[in-house]
Amino acid sequence: MSIDIGDKVMIVMENVYKKYDSGVVASNGLSVSINPGEFVYVVGPSGAGKSTFIKMIYCEERPTTGKVSVDGVDVNTLKKKEIPYLRRKIGVVFQDFKLLPRLTVYENVAFALEVIEEMPSVIKKRVTDVLKLVGLSAKAKMFPNELSGGEQQRVAIARAIVNDPSVLIADEPTGNLDPDTSWEIMDILERINRQGTTIVMATHNKEVVNTNRHRVIAIEDGVITRDEYEGEYGYES
């Protein structure tokens, strides 16, 4: 596969090989390039290497060999100290939301800006805007345990996009949600994507993949077995 390396590419992986200390090989010569503004599903059986793929994008894991670059940043030569600055360009959403229970909805979202030492006036404006985008303005003062699962995931998405990242990574964002709620989340992700944010979403949700058609990358045994635009889920769910 030839890879176009230039300003236009958001995420590039080239011959990425990742072996964990345990001996597990999670990526076995994986190459892919994702353009800005794309919406990409990453599918595949459990343990096939989806999570490692995702983690290498936000630098939670680094490749053993091979090249990874995100938004023009070469992850291979990135110093440990510089990782936080890469993370500021990437929003991450998880299956289990990862909200702080003792903070309100507003505070949870603002937290992402506080830790990067943003000005209070900027924080206020951005948090208000982003809560409006995910439709939670009315619940800003509530605590996570007072919200439904879908609402909690919307808070997590709000937190992920509040500093206007170039890429939004979602690791099974609908994994814990019922079908109706999953569609709400998908609507929000689609809206964020339409605003220009690149979205990479690992998922097991056949319905979603087959209905909202986007590029599908299938990973099995650490290699890409399929890469199709407007693709199908392709597995029995």
Binding site: K81, P84, R87, R88, V92, L100, V115, E117, R159
Partner: protein
């Protein structure tokens, strides 16, 4: 760092102290006990060291000259000794003064010798480095006209040995105590970190720098050290002042002198606080470092 951010760190660290009340109590107690003991040890050691110094400065070599030594030879010898680089000062005592001294010690009966004084002149020599005293005394003994050169062999060495040993034992004990307190503090901080694990994880995901994550914990260590040094500082100050006021008058004419509370207590208290904060910061650094490397 911005002042606003620092304010946030201070609030976070104080909140965490409160939230982990029992562990805070445990490590503050550990610091308190450690600092009290360390403080007492330091006081003893510094006083011993003061004693050692004053003993060392009072040790001198008595060089007795042959009674028949002529006046010129005495002067020449005196100059020769004074020029030695190890020698600090020399006091010349004539044979008459020596006899008076002897009469003072042994009684009026010795007055009989006044008509024909059998003694020679004597030099009282102080050396710059008391550890060199044996060598200097030996050298002086070999000089012409010198009858004998003595400095209280044996006693002085023994005293030096005792002082050195007690200093070493004290140092080992202090190090042991410091390690224990550090271990307790780092455990406390580790627990507070575990209870805030998800918070740290999120901080790192949204791009907080390591120092941003670390500072609240380091501050927590500072508070633990500072709070832990309150009782030792007060206790040591009151205790030593009382001790000094009681015992110092009785030691007025002895070689052993207690160090005056000022500035000694300021030094000790400063040291105690510094050590408290030091082990607090170190303890938290040790425990946060592991966590941040993930």
């Amino acid at each position: 760092m911005k002042a606003r951010t620092f304010g946030r760190h201070v609030r976070e660290s104080l909140k965490s102290l409160k939230r982990n009340g029992w562990m805070t109590f445990a490590s503050v107690s550990a610091v308190t006990v450690t600092l009290l003991l360390v403080g007492v040890f330091f006081m003893i050691m510094m006083n011993l060291s003061g004693l050692a110094d004053s003993i060392e400065n009072n040790v001198e070599i008595k060089v007795t000259l042959e009674p028949a030594t002529s006046e010129e030879n005495i002067v020449a010898l005196k100059e020769q000794i004074e020029e030695m680089k190890q020698v600090d000062s020399l006091e010349h005592s004539t044979k008459e003064e020596e006899l008076d001294r002897l009469i003072g010690v042994l009684g009026k009966g010795m007055g009989l010798y006044k008509s024909s004084n059998p003694l020679g002149d004597a030099f009282y020599v102080k050396v710059k480095d008391p550890q060199q005293i044996a060598k200097v005394a030996q050298t002086l003994k070999e000089y012409d006209y010198v009858e004998d050169s003595v400095y209280g062999e044996g006693t002085v060495e023994k005293l030096f040995n005792v002082l050195t040993t007690s200093r070493n034992i004290g140092a080992v004990l202090i190090v042991g105590l410091l390690v224990t307190a550090m271990f307790l503090i780092s455990n406390t901080i580790r627990l507070t970190i575990n209870s805030r694990g998800s918070e740290i994880e999120i901080m790192k995901l949204v791009g907080a720098t390591n120092s941003f994550v670390r500072i609240p914990f380091v501050l927590e260590g500072v508070w633990l050290g500072l709070i832990g040094s309150i009782i030792p500082v007060i206790g040591l100050s009151i205790g030593y002042t009382r001790f000094y006021n009681t015992f110092s008058p009785r030691l007025e004419n002895e070689i052993m002198q207690l160090l005056a509370p000022s500035p000694f207590l300021f030094q000790i208290n400063f040291l105690v606080i510094l050590i408290g904060v030091g082990i607090g910061v170190w303890g938290s650094f040790v425990s946060v470092r592991k966590f941040l490397n993930v």
